[in-house]
Symmetry: none
Subunit: 248 residues, 2 copies
Amino acid sequence: MLKKERQAYILHQVNLHNKVLSSHLSEQMGVSEDTIRRDLAALAQEGKILKVHGGGLSNSFHQGAVAQDVYAIEEKRIIAQKAVGLIHDGMFVLTTGGTTILQLARILPPELRATFITVSLPAAFEYANHPNIEVIVIGDKLAKNSKITVGGEAIAKIRDIRADLCFLGVNAIDVQAGLTDNDWEVVQVKKAMAGTARKVVAMCISEKVNTAEHLKVCNVEDIDILITELQPKSKKLQPYSSKGIRIL
Amino acid sequence: MLKKERQAYILHQVNLHNKVLSSHLSEQMGVSEDTIRRDLAALAQEGKILKVHGGGLSNSFHQGAVAQDVYAIEEKRIIAQKAVGLIHDGMFVLTTGGTTILQLARILPPELRATFITVSLPAAFEYANHPNIEVIVIGDKLAKNSKITVGGEAIAKIRDIRADLCFLGVNAIDVQAGLTDNDWEVVQVKKAMAGTARKVVAMCISEKVNTAEHLKVCNVEDIDILITELQPKSKKLQPYSSKGIRIL
DNA sequence: CAGTTTCATGCATATTTCTGCATAAAACGT
DNA sequence: ACGTTTTATGCAGAAATATGCATGAAACTG
């Protein structure tokens, strides 16, 4: 990894999380803490970040800036953290859109080499920031509110891909009703994704567990792994666990 | 392998991956690292890439990810204003990426009903803000630097579309050399677009008129309309006018 | 204030770059 | 066509750069 590249990545992380730890970064990109410290010093020198003991801070504190607030961001961050452990080098990964997926995109370890395939434009942007990931965009008509491509072309293309892993941002999940959503076209895309991947991972904040929407994506049995921000052994998740779904 | 060829390849790699390593390139095309370094230096000299210790980076790194201001925005706004007059209800419009195209996207009249087809993710986002426009995204591998999709799939898809109008963001135009660009894949996409549309519109700031890059997109005769920020009767544009191209 | 973590400094090492030069290939002028 | 000039490329050795490690100092924590 090149110096500038590393610094750009650090800057990205700082802008995203408002703080970084030297120890964390060091581990994340496999260089010594000394190097990280030198990078932080350089970035601080350029005024891009604020260097503090133990890491760095966004200087947006200093200048006052915008913090885009995502609903239940902490929960989603936890979920993303669990999900990232499933991805290994060389994998082909299908993802939908949604804010949980975006969180996932942001915390992908920089040395991970994988191919991400998505219908979500925001997700594609996020993946594009990553130094070692190949991004494949599935094309079709753009659904304006969700910024994902939907339609027959997209679905056919998804079916052509034998992905190792599929991450579904989940709107509602229920033991009886299965995975459900409320946008017809989104459902088509998710169906296709769930159908073609070797392992299907559902990412869902606990609040949406045991809720249902009008349109069905798939049965809970079709899911291989369910990730929520709760403990895996949490009572709320027992019904899913006993259906043979792995809980993280 | 010729020097120009090599440099075009390097540039393509940079546009696709945002970085290249001298060592890697050297091995990949069987020339010494010295030669690669000289190529990188030349490309950096022309401002096409950012040269760093160990290789090269896309110059999007240098500008800082946030708040990059568009070069020559006033000129581009004028061009976009002229271009928008060509679009009518019901049309199918193909567009490339580039900042000029983004300007166009922003000033589309809200009551316009048309279908825009693009390989550019930023352009797609911009179009998506429009209330009455249908947006079709062409999918394929994402070039990280320019955020456009490139590759065989994309080109095949473009060829399937009979668009009424094609807007090309132009990198360089010259009466002799024609429309030229510096990234092989981008050139393929532009070629396909220019080839399939009923009318081809080139949008080009006057600064780039009578300049040339390494790779050819098409002849000036293949363009139907040329838009710059200059007056149509401007002297600089005479040669194009006399080739039968309509100037706006 | 004692213990732990983080930091700065100097140094060692590996990698990358620069410089000058030699050679080969291409372009040019007459 | 021939010799000359320009250009492109590779190579060797010196210089610069990037990084990690060891040590003691400084900063945090409770």
